[in-house]
Amino acid sequence: MTLNGWLQILFFLALVFLVTKPMGVYMARVFNREKTFMDPVMRPIERLIYRLTAVDENHEMRWTEYAIAMLLFSAVSMIVLYAIQRLQGVLPFNPQKFAGVTPTHLAFNTAASFTTNTNWQAYSGEATMSYFTQMAGLAFHNFISGATGIALAIAFIRGIARRQMKTIGNFWVDMVRSCLWVLLPVSIVGALVLVSQGVIQNLRPYDKAVLIEPMQVQKTGPDGKPMVGSDGKPSMNTVTEQTIAQGPVASQEIIKEFGTNGGGFFNANSAHPFENPTPLTNLIEMLAIFTVGAGLTYTLGRMTGSQRHGWAVWAAMAILFMAGCVVAYWAEARGNPLLAGVDQRVSASQSGGNMEGKEVRFGMANSTLFATVTTDASCGAINGWHDSYTPLGGLVPLANMMMSEVIFGGVGSGLYGMLIDVVLAVFIAGLMVGRTPEYLGKKIEAYDVKMAMLFVLVFPLVILTFAAISSVRTFGTAGISNPGPHGFTQILYAFVSGAANNGSAFGGLTVNTLWYDTAIGFDMLLGRFFMMIPMLAIAGNLAQKKYVPPSSGTFPVTTPLFTVLLIGVILIVGALTFFPAVSLGPLLEHLLMAAGKTF
């Protein structure tokens, strides 16, 4: 760990702090339909969209209609994405002549993945997807799944803010305004900034470069294994060319981060130099991941009239974020004790540490910071492979997701997930003093707590069920690539990532199989929609309640004490639920690694 590394981490946190208020104020104005500087450009486009799609922008929805509209839009767009993948062979913008995506379970998995804002990738982008599928299928879902999340968070905030009303807004209007006012303008500017640093943006066929030194490569047989000649020596092939994959990357890269989607244009995601060529692009991408999530805490404060509550929530997020950074940076910078004869120490000429699966331009500080950010939010982009992290370094992304990504969080989903934790925190505080809990003037009653518990319990139920099945059946264990406790972590990580709609992976696990594609497909769908519905139910229920002015018995939600209690609830709900599983995976591996054991 270096002073410069900490400076970079704190500089990043300072930037997150600085964008919170402007972003929050702007979003509050957008969703209250007040005037903004984007109106002259976006308002005509918005009106045109409503006219074309039969939307009455003044219609208000109850929570049930809001949920139905959201589900219908998700279902239709998911089916379209499935169709685009299967038909890409006959669609335009396909210079590499990729055939339709097969097998069907992969196309299903990918459709579910991008619809749920997970962007789990069981395919390799540069070898599977045409430019059309990337743009109109995948990047398009980056916009609308992010916009759906923001819409729902706004609906939840309205539920808290409104008094004795039956409605919580209009899904179509919230979704379209998220796209046009929030996501699109930042994406256009951000994409061009990324290109200026070297992120590619073109529609050309892959280039062929003639290598300066021809390369000897071991042939692989039809079974995918390295081939050996009859004399027992590896049979080699001379390679004289390097095929350079191209594509419209920057336009997808920026929304992949800003919409906390995380699906890379290329298999190597943000570790690929064409997606993330410089430390500046790395910083922009990380900041893009947190901007909406941080801003929404301010929007919450503004729309509910309690700005200090917004900051109290922000503080809980920032503290948990820093805790993750410290552990991940420390664990990775220590390096791998099992490697002998190598220099893993930090010096002026290298950042040292565990460099397997990491890139030199990022080193330890920026790799671990990115891993923390991407899993605090439901992004799932990676700039180094989490599978090759040390056990405790890899535990940080896993634990962040297990807390269901409420630390700044996915766009929208982070805030409403956090507010469910707030409801629980207020409820627990109420139990402790023996009074009916209140939250910002709303009584929290049995119905709300039941729905909150449903929200909280669906998550581990789905994960642990699928992970347990995969751990004991051969169709699950066959995918493991790293033996020992690490193999169990690979399986656990996959289902946590799916249900949390993160999408990062312990990438060694072979997941393009009938079992994993299907199981993770449902894991993602259940983790998104079965959590959204109880959340909207709470929003609808809160909206119709009377306002109760705070009294001396009200637990204030604006104080450091509240922040501490909230962190406690997050840790108890997230960490304790999964502790037995974690102890069988990363914790066990850490102890065995310290004892010098290999697998």
Partner: protein
Amino acid sequence: MKRNLLTAFLMTIATTILLGIIYPLVVTGLAQVLFPKKANGELVEVNGKLVGSRLLAQSFTGAGYFHPRPSAVNYDPTNSNGSQLGPTNRQLIDRVKSDVAALQAENPGTPVPIDLVTTSASGFDPDITPAAAEFQIPRIAKARGMSEDAVRELVRQHTEERQFGFLGEPRVNVLELNLALDRTPGKLASR
């Protein structure tokens, strides 16, 4: 319900056209006009022939060239990936052990910088650390009949410091450094 279903269909079409087609094409057009070289992958040509991209490492194994970091995918940009080996996997430990042995034979007594024996995340990390460049200088100087200081000076010229003085890590672009070596007079100078 019916009306919302109709809207779901129409909304999917309308937003696909705007966000899935118009947006990326507009960005492509602007990028190609404003930053044509960057938008196309910073391709490198030598004598009019495309030899690679400065952002993608390619294999160098000759004694007279700086070697990039190992690749789990043979430096193939149509198959970007890392090794995905976990920290306690014997395959990783054994691979590093044999790579370390080979490198120590070439530069005895100097500990091997970690990035030279670990596979990168992309499979074609264009950079090595200044430590990894320094480690290789004696081999290159010998193979090219140059003085170590002359090679070191070339490395220094191709060392990129942290961006804005504090972002990221110092690094050396292997392809550019090797092309510079080839332009330098010496017994291996070529092209």
